[in-house]
């Protein structure tokens, strides 16, 4: 009967899935439809929605409105709660919440909660009953608001999402977040880590722009997620579009707020200099909150323009405060902090046992990536071969604040058609744990040269095809070998660097100081052929003909090689058997 079929329809409702980037300071939502990803603005028109909830006389505020309440109503305003999720009270660092509601112990230390005046204060001024909200509950409310915003924007009820989490999110934190999401009416399709999500969004954009090549390049990408209160870096090997995280580095103190602090210090000193009698605004909670909000705004303005100004009414003792800061002053003041971003990123490269020369791309994600100096520092620190993708260095870069949400939305659109069990089955260790090649596989060319066909850290099974021109023609030897990457260091005159330096006259003045005295060290990546795996002979290649080599590494690491002349008949086919002792790690 029709009524029954109607019930059936409700049992399998159409999934409307969004990508959700749930950050400690900001959240954003994105949706992919017809291959286009869009970041959704909430009712207030914000695409970066502060992850803050505030309770004012019985009303709940979220986002920008809630953030404004930090000044007037700090104790009933909950901020920076994402990182508290699923943690025990003793493991929690409450310092980011200093200016807002303080976390308290709940359920005998097993959880963290906030005590806020949620209900309206009674008319007679008597303090109403305060309610204790666990972090999970706060998260549910926050997610519900985000869901409502997305539903309003799309005109459809959003009921599923892919949520991004930091790469060090524990299983307990994930399960708590998952519960909170389901309470908010969101079916959690998958958790993906923030750096991977950012990379996915970037690669998807790249694919659209150079739509000619269907398959993505093999590359090592360094994704730096520089957030409001913390920074996470991941070194990711992208092989044929499959991502493997090689190493991660975290700094829980370094973030946008560290930069804000510099501006706060600076402004506070200036304020006291101008008003000798005034008290220190940093000592007064309310003044500090005002200053913090304004510092963040100034920092953002400085990422776009060369100057920005503080303008705070009644900062302290009823005195208004105005101060103009220019970018170079900010960069000078914040040099130490800005350099620590570079150091953190470099430490991740070392953790992955790589050299900075191995890094092909550096993708900056997260709000703090807007700061131009961070990008330019990286650009000068890393070799020229590494491309820094940030708004300051690349005009086509996607807004770093939106990367994570976009990636999640893409992933959501990819998997929203699947059953939950199917998604679960695909993300199980059986499927994800894969043997990765320790060394690159390639051809020995010339005397000692080596040409990479399959780079290191490529998950098996893999299939790659390479073509090589044989100029002279005749019989050729195809020698398949493992390659070893070496870094050769040689000293050279600084003339070459000076030529490069002219391009960016602004930034390299200090660099010149360094390089003037000592000769420039040139570090180069050199491939050396290592262990030879197989040899094949191809006879009678035409002059200027091409030889095609297909390398097929199976999951058990047996290598099948097919060599033939392009356009020619026949070819040579052979298999390098799988090593007996080397079979561990095979999941299939």
């Amino acid at each position: 009967m029709t009524s029954e079929s109607a019930i059936d329809d409700t049992q399998y409702p159409q999934r409307t899935a969004i990508g959700l980037s749930f950050g400690n300071s900001y959240s954003s939502i994105a949706h992919t439809a017809d291959g286009k990803t869009e970041v959704i603005a909430n009712e207030e028109g914000d695409r970066q929605i502060p992850s803050i909830l505030s309770y004012v006389s019985g009303e709940e505020f979220q986002g920008t409105q809630a953030k404004a309440q930090i000044v007037r109503n700090p104790r009933n305003t909950i901020a920076y709660f994402r990182d508290l999720l699923g943690k025990e009270f003793k493991d929690v660092d409450p310092s980011p919440c200093h200016a807002s509601a303080h976390p308290v112990e709940s359920s005998e230390g097993k959880g963290v909660a906030f005590v806020v005046q949620e209900k309206e204060v009674a008319e007679d001024g008597e303090e109403g009953e305060k309610s204790t909200l666990t972090v999970a509950e706060v998260t549910t409310r926050h997610l519900r608001k985000l869901k409502e915003s997305a539903s309003d924007y799309l005109g459809k009820d959003v009921n599923a999402a892919v949520i991004t989490v930091p790469s060090d999110f524990t299983d307990a934190q994930k399960s708590t977040l998952s519960e909170s999401a389901s309470k908010a009416g969101i079916e959690l399709l998958q958790f993906i880590t923030e750096p991977i999500s950012a990379l996915l969004a970037y690669d998807a954009k790249q694919q659209l722009t150079d739509s000619g090549s269907s398959a993505p390049q093999d590359k090592i990408v360094l994704v730096a997620d520089l957030g409001g209160t913390r920074s996470d870096v991941a070194v990711i090997a992208s092989r044929g579009g499959i991502y493997t995280t090689l190493a991660t580095a975290h700094d829980y103190e370094l973030g946008g707020s560290s930069l804000d602090k510099i501006l706060i210090e600076h402004a506070a000193k200036e304020f006291q200099k101008k008003n000798k009698s005034a008290s220190d605004p940093r000592k007064n909670e309310r003044s500090l909150a005002k200053l913090t909000l304004e510092a963040e705004a100034v920092k953002k303005a400085l990422s776009l323009g060369a100057t920005a100004s503080f303008s705070i009414e009644s900062l302290g003792d009823g005195i208004d405060f105005n101060l103009t800061v220019n970018r170079s002053r900010f960069e000078l003041l914040g040099n130490k902090v800005l350099m620590s971003f570079t150091r953190l990123i470099e430490s991740a490269v070392q953790k992955a046992d790589l050299d900075i020369l191995d890094v092909d791309e550096i993708l900056l994600s997260g709000g703090t990536s807007h700061t131009p100096k961070i990008a330019s520092n990286l650009q000068s620190h890393f070799p020229e071969s590494a491309v820094v993708i940030a708004p300051a260095t690349s005009a086509t870069a996607i807004n770093p604040s939106e990367l994570a949400a976009r990636g999640a939305a893409i992933q959501a659109s990819l998997i929203s058609g699947f059953e939950v069990e199917e998604i679960g089955a695909s993300t199980e260790a059986v499927v994800t744990v894969t043997p990765h090649l320790t060394h690159a596989i390639g051809l020995v060319t010339g005397e000692e040269g080596f040409a990479v066909i399959v780079p290191a850290e490529t998950p098996a099974p893999v299939r790659r095809t390479a073509q090589i021109v044989v100029k002279a023609g005749g019989d050729v030897l195809v020698r398949l070998a493992e390659g070893v990457r070496e870094i050769s260091v040689r000293t050279e005159d600084k003339a070459t660097t000076n030529g490069n330096a002219k391009k960016d006259a602004d930034e390299d003045e200090d660099e010149d100081d360094d390089s003037d005295d000592e000769p420039e060290e040139v570090r180069e990546k050199v491939w050396k052929a290592g262990k030879v795996l197989a040899e094949a002979g191809i006879r009678g290649v035409k002059k200027g003909g091409k030889v095609e080599v297909q390398v097929n590494v199976a999951a058990d690491l047996s290598v099948t090689v097919v060599c033939r002349e392009v356009g020619g008949k026949g070819g040579v086919r052979g298999t390098v058997p799988a090593g007996k002792a080397e079979q561990n790690g095979n999941a299939s």
Binding site: S3, S5, A6, L200, D203, S213, S214, A215, I242, Y243, T244, L246, A425, S426, V430, V431, V433, T434, P435, H436, L437, T438, H439, L443, T445, A451, E457, P459, P461, T465, A466, Q467, I468, V469, K471, A472, D475, V476, V478, K531, V532, L533, A534, E535, A536, G537, R539, N552, L557, V572, G574, T575, V576, A578, G579, A581, E582, G585, A587, S588
Partner: protein, 445 residues
Amino acid sequence: MATIQLSATLPSLPTDWTAEKDFKSISRVTQPTARSLEPVGPHFLAHARRKRHHRTFSEDERIQAESSVKKTEDEDAGEISEDEDPVMLQREAKDWKHQDHYAVMGLSKYRWRATEEQIKRAHRKKVLRHHPDKKAASGKEEGDQFFKCIQRANDILMDPVKRRQFDSVDEGAEKEPPAKKDVSKKPGNFYKLWGPVFEAEGRFSKRQPVPQLGNDKSTREEVEQFYNFWFDFDSWRSFEYLDEEVPDDSADRAQLRHQERKNNNARKKRKVEDTTRLRQLVESVMAQDDRIRKFKQEASKQKNAKKNEREAAEKAAKEEAQRKKEEDERLAKEKAEAEKATKEEGKKAKEAAKNAAKKNKRTIRGAVKEAGYFVDGNAGPKEIDAALNDVDALIAKMENEELGVVASKLQGNSDKAAIKGVFQEQVTSLVAAGKVKEGELKSLS
């Protein structure tokens, strides 16, 4: 994966190099590092698919290619297969009012269910086949009549308003109500034969979805909902399509208006007829519906059962009341009788006592005489009188029982002294009881 172009040169084959089939395996790949892939992105999904189904690259590519090919084929199949009626191909285009547009488009099995996309594709196919230019090329002199039919059908079916008008009178979509005898042949036939009729009628409903006839297992609510819906059917069916048209050349407004009025009336009439037809149809179905009978029986059974129960209860209550009443009456009667008996008995006893008392008194008086009026020798009248008065006073003071006791003592006693003794004893006891004063009864003391 795109082919990698390497720019380096390959070494030439050493002259002394030989190998079986020109291939030599030398050493094995170094032990790999087990790492976890990030389960993200389209390429990972492909990887997961390969790994879970244990496919190689080429197998997976083949299967994916096959499945995508199948999809396009599925889309294409269907509408093409319909045969074209040779009679239909001979149609005159100007007679479009009577043509079956769906049949012309080759969509006669879809009809009102055909989607716009299907119509578009069907039209394209028909155009490709029947375009007059093509016919001319193949040398046939058939004219473009059928092509015009196709274009007309497309015009009507692609216009939602016109399509509705046509659907309203589309005879091809009508389902004849089955004959009664067919329905009664087999028990399941009712649902099998009537179901499609309602499905076809349901297309006119403004309210969708339309409840279906169901089967013999449908619940009472479902069946009731079904009949309620159909008795309260809100139809969008209209009959503009059957309007008689005024020839274009008659520019006479009066005639136009007249025709319009006529058409309007005809529409209204048809609509009323249609509504009545549907109502009658539903009524006749309801009459045939075994479920209604079944539900009625069940309901009446239930009702009867309830009624019986109630009656039995009432009866029982009545009997109980009757019984109680009788019992009460009986008890009352018994009580009355007992009372009466005790009363009579009391009366008798009283009388007996009275008699006894009289007798006793007489005995006592007699005893006085016997005792010679308590005087020695013959008593004078004065003395007799005094003695008798005193004895009478004594008797009046005595109770019946005492009278009895005294009488029994005096009975048969002729000794004067003894009689006097009895009297004196009685007097002293009465004096002790305070009934008689000392010295009151002088003759007896």
